[in-house]
């Protein structure tokens, strides 16, 4: 599907996916991203990492940003580049991410002491992807941009 050498001026090729904010629909984003990544030549191991990262990003957008209001959409952009795959996940944000939540590194020992044993999602994304960037969209929603490099 990539023949970019013959038409270098061609704009970036983006797949756009708009999903309802309902838990379970992150599976659609995972399957779409893994379908693209496999065809780009990523190894199974890297595809698995991508699936986990995108599931965490979309789940966050559904649960946190969009507060599970199914009528609100999660927008996933997948851009296939020569050197890697760029994934952006945005919610329609009524709730910004808590300060520090994008940089924290939880440990299992402190999780034992908490009632809520979660908080691993963003950390997993940072561990599994090659580049990760959190930002606030002009509309106020949360946006995460992640890149996975082709070796």
């Amino acid at each position: 599907m990539s023949d970019e050498t013959s038409q270098p001026e061609r704009p970036e090729k983006v797949i756009e996916l708009r999903l309802p904010s309902k838990l379970g629909y992150e599976r659609v984003a995972m399957d779409t991203a893994s379908s693209l990544a496999r065809r780009m030549g990523f190894s199974n191991d890297r595809v698995d990492s991508l699936k986990t990262a995108i599931s965490e990003a979309v789940t966050n957008a559904i649960e946190h940003g969009n507060q599970q209001d199914a009528a609100m959409k999660v927008v996933v952009l997948l851009t296939a580049r020569k050197d890697g795959l760029v994934v952006s996940v945005a919610d329609q944000g009524c709730k910004p991410l808590a300060q520090g939540s994008t940089t924290s590194s939880p440990t299992i020992e402190e999780a034992f002491e908490r009632d809520d044993k979660g908080g691993w999602g963003i950390w997993l994304i940072r561990e599994l992807m090659d580049e990760v960037e959190f930002s606030t969209a002009p509309s106020g929603g949360n946006q995460v941009r992640m890149v996975i490099h082709l070796e």
């Binding site: 838990l23 379970g24 986990t52 789940t59 299992i108 809520d116 979660g118 691993w120 997993l124």
Partner: protein, 119 residues
């Protein structure tokens, strides 16, 4: 109808080990089933507990939080926990999170049964 019910949990005993079979996705929807299965084997006096995964191509951070909850209980109840059947990817995730320090990872059920009762 949404297919949110994508995990089957069942329990059995083999060679003195309580085995909890987890077939399918381990996400936020798994919480009650996994906790109920753990309570059941614990009430029956289990000392050794094995979480035996199958066809688990989707475990997310909510699922990991549920499993950390099980580890917390296992430590409190002085039981011993192991996991088997995880894909390479989720073995890696379990090590990253630190779960592997509290639940030995085995490739399959047979290896886990031998390993669990050794130490």
């Amino acid at each position: 109808m949404m297919l949110e019910d994508e995990l089957t949990v069942s329990t059995r005993e083999r060679d003195g080990v309580a085995i909890i079979d987890l077939v399918g996705d381990v996400t936020t929807f798994a919480e009650e089933k996994i906790n109920a299965a753990y309570r059941e084997v614990t009430n029956n006096g289990a000392r050794f507990v094995l979480l035996n995964f199958r066809q688990n191509d989707y475990i997310n951070s909510a699922g990991i939080a549920i499993l950390i909850g099980i580890v917390t209980e296992v430590n409190r109840n002085n039981q011993k926990l192991a996991v088997s059947g995880l894909s390479q990817h989720f073995q890696k995730i379990f090590r990253m999170v630190g779960l592997a320090q509290y639940a030995e990872i085995y490739q399959n059920e047979d290896e886990a049964l031998v390993g669990l009762q050794k130490g």
